[in-house]
Symmetry: C2
Amino acid sequence: MGNYANRVTIRDIASACEVSTATVSRVLNHIPGGYSAETEERIRDTAEKLGYVPNRMARSLITRRTNLIAVLVPDIHYCFFQDFFVRLEQYLNGFGYRVLLCNTQEQQELEEQYIRELCNGLVDGLIVSTLNKDESNEALLDISRKGFPVVLLERYGEGLTELCRLSVDNVGAARVAVNHLYGEGHRRIAFISGGEDAQNARFRFEGYLEGLKDNGLEYDKELVSDGNYSFESGTSAMQKLLERGGFTAVIGANDLMTVGACKAITQKGLRIPDDISVMGVDNTILTRTQEPAITAVDFCAAELGEKAGSLLMKMIRDELPEKEIYMQEPRLVPGHSVSKVHG
Amino acid sequence: MGNYANRVTIRDIASACEVSTATVSRVLNHIPGGYSAETEERIRDTAEKLGYVPNRMARSLITRRTNLIAVLVPDIHYCFFQDFFVRLEQYLNGFGYRVLLCNTQEQQELEEQYIRELCNGLVDGLIVSTLNKDESNEALLDISRKGFPVVLLERYGEGLTELCRLSVDNVGAARVAVNHLYGEGHRRIAFISGGEDAQNARFRFEGYLEGLKDNGLEYDKELVSDGNYSFESGTSAMQKLLERGGFTAVIGANDLMTVGACKAITQKGLRIPDDISVMGVDNTILTRTQEPAITAVDFCAAELGEKAGSLLMKMIRDELPEKEIYMQEPRLVPGHSVSKVHG
DNA sequence: CTGAAAGCGCTTACAG
DNA sequence: CTGAAAGCGCTTACAG
C-alpha cells in the first residue's frame, strides 16, 4: 500500500513522443520558444492521456522551491486563526502554493522545533503568529538573518524590527470600544482584561485606559477584572465585577471572555443590554451567535490573512524590501448588546 | 531572500571527514553495522559542528516517503474539525509526520484537484472528510485502487466499501437525544434537521425517527423543520416551529442550528429550559458557552482524529488489511438546557 | 526548435 | 567496515 509511486514520469512521455525529456520539460513548463506548436500539442496530449502529474519533490530539488509554506498558530480553536487561515490558504492557492498548518499549542519548544525543521528544504516561507504569551524569537531571527522568508503576526519583542511583520491595532480596538460606549452615554465602563503575559492583552488594556482618558473619564481599578482569554475566566471576572457594581457597561478583551461575561450576567438574572451593556474586542462566531448579538470590534482576520500571504509571496519572489510593517485597522460591528444611557 | 538553501550537504561532511557520502548517509540514518564507532563519532561531530540538516526533498525522491500527510476538510470553521485536526496533528507528530490542512470550502472541484495533486509525490497519505453535501468519490477510489493510503471520514456513497473509513454514529446520536428527552418526561419532541444533501444529516433525521419509535412516540411532521446546518437556518427553522407550537423540547441536528434555535426561543421571550428544553447533536464550544449550557451529544472528534491518524500510519506502513471500518460512539454530555416534565 | 549531459542531495545495492 | 556507482524525477545551461 505505502509503495504507491508515480506511475508515469517525464521519461515515459518523452519516449512515447520520441523526443528528449528536456523538450517535454520545456513544454510542460511553458518555456517560450522551446518547441514547435506541433511538438507541443503532441506532448500535451500524451501527458494527459497517460495521466501525468509532475513529481514536486524532484522539481523542488532543482528549483529550490517547494511551493509549500507553513503557518504556525498557537491553537486553531481560536476563531481569529480560522478566518486568517482560510483566506490565506485561498490566496496562496492562487499562486500554486499549498499550506501546512502547525498548531504550536502555545508551547515555546514545539514552536522552535517546527521553525528549525520546516525552514530547511520543506517550505519556501513561514508565517508565524503570536503564542499568546511571552515568547522567544531567537529561532525566528536566526532563520530570517539567513535570508529565509518569514512573516510575523502579532509578534512583539526585541530585535524584531528587522523582520517583516503584521499586527492588529490592539490599542485602537479597545479605545474604539470605550469611545462607542461613551457615545451611547456610558460613563462607568468596566473592563475584563486578558492575561498579563500576552503582549496584545497588555495593549488592549492600554487602549482601554487611553479610551477613558480621551473622554475625560477617570480610571477606577475596581472596574477592571483580570481574565486569561478563556471562557471560564470571563465568567469569573464578571462575577467579581458584579459583586462590586457601579458600572453600566463592560468590555471583554476577547470573544471567549466576552461570552463568558454574558453568562455571568444572565445567571445573575440581569439582562443585556437593559441592565448592562456588553462590548467585545473580537467579533467572531461566538459573539455573533449570542443573543443578543454582541457589539464588537472586528480585527478583520481574513484581510490580515491575505495581507500575510501577499507579503510572504513577495519575499519569496525577492520583491520586498527587507522589512515591512503593516497594521490592520479594526472595525466596529454593531450588535444589540449596547443600550443608550440618558444623562 | 527567496534563495535560502541548505548550506551544508552530506558531501561537505564527507569531504571534511575524508569518507564517502555513503558512509555519512549510513551514520546519519543509523544503519546498523555500516561503520565503526570511531567513524560514527567523527561524522556526528562534524555534522553537528556544520549545523547539518538533511534535505527532505532529496531523501523523499529515493525513499518515496515525504513524511507529510494532508487532511481535507470542508471548512475548518466547524468546531468538529478543529478538535479532529489538533489531535490528529499531535498524534502524527509523534511519528515525525507533518500535516497539510486543506479547506475544500465544500467545493467538489477543489477537493478533487487537491486529491489528484497531493497524492503524487507530495504526501504519503490522505485523510478526506465529508463535504457536508452530496459528494463524488471517483478520485478517491482512483488513487486508493492504485494503492495510495487514504482514510475517509464521514464519507458515504457507492463503492466506498473497499476503502478504509471512519464515521460517527449519526443515527445513534439523534436517537440518544430523543431517548434522553423521553427519559425526562418529554413526549412532544421537535427536530431541526440539516440539509437534505448531507448524508450525515439524513442519518441524524433517521435517528430521530428511530428514537421516537423506540419510545412508542408518533412521528408528526409538523414537529420537524428543515435547516441547512447554518446558524441562521436554525433560527428560522425554530421560528416556524414556535409558530406551530405543540412541543416541549427541540433537538438541533448540529451545533450551529441548535444555537440558532436558542436565539429564536429567547427572542420570543421564552426561557430555556423552563418553557422549552433544548438538546444539541454536536457538543462544541458553541453549545458549551451558551447560557444555559446545552445538553448535547458529543461526537468525540479528538478521539476520531487520533484513530484516523493511527489507521493512516498503519496503511503507510503496510500493516493494515485492505479496509477497516470504525465507528466512534457518541457520548451524552449533560448541560442545563433540559427540564423534567411531570406527567 | 531540439537533444545530450550534468546535476539537485540523497540512498542503496553491490563489491571488496 | 567502507567506497564507487547508479539512480530517484526533474530542470537547465550548452551546443547545435
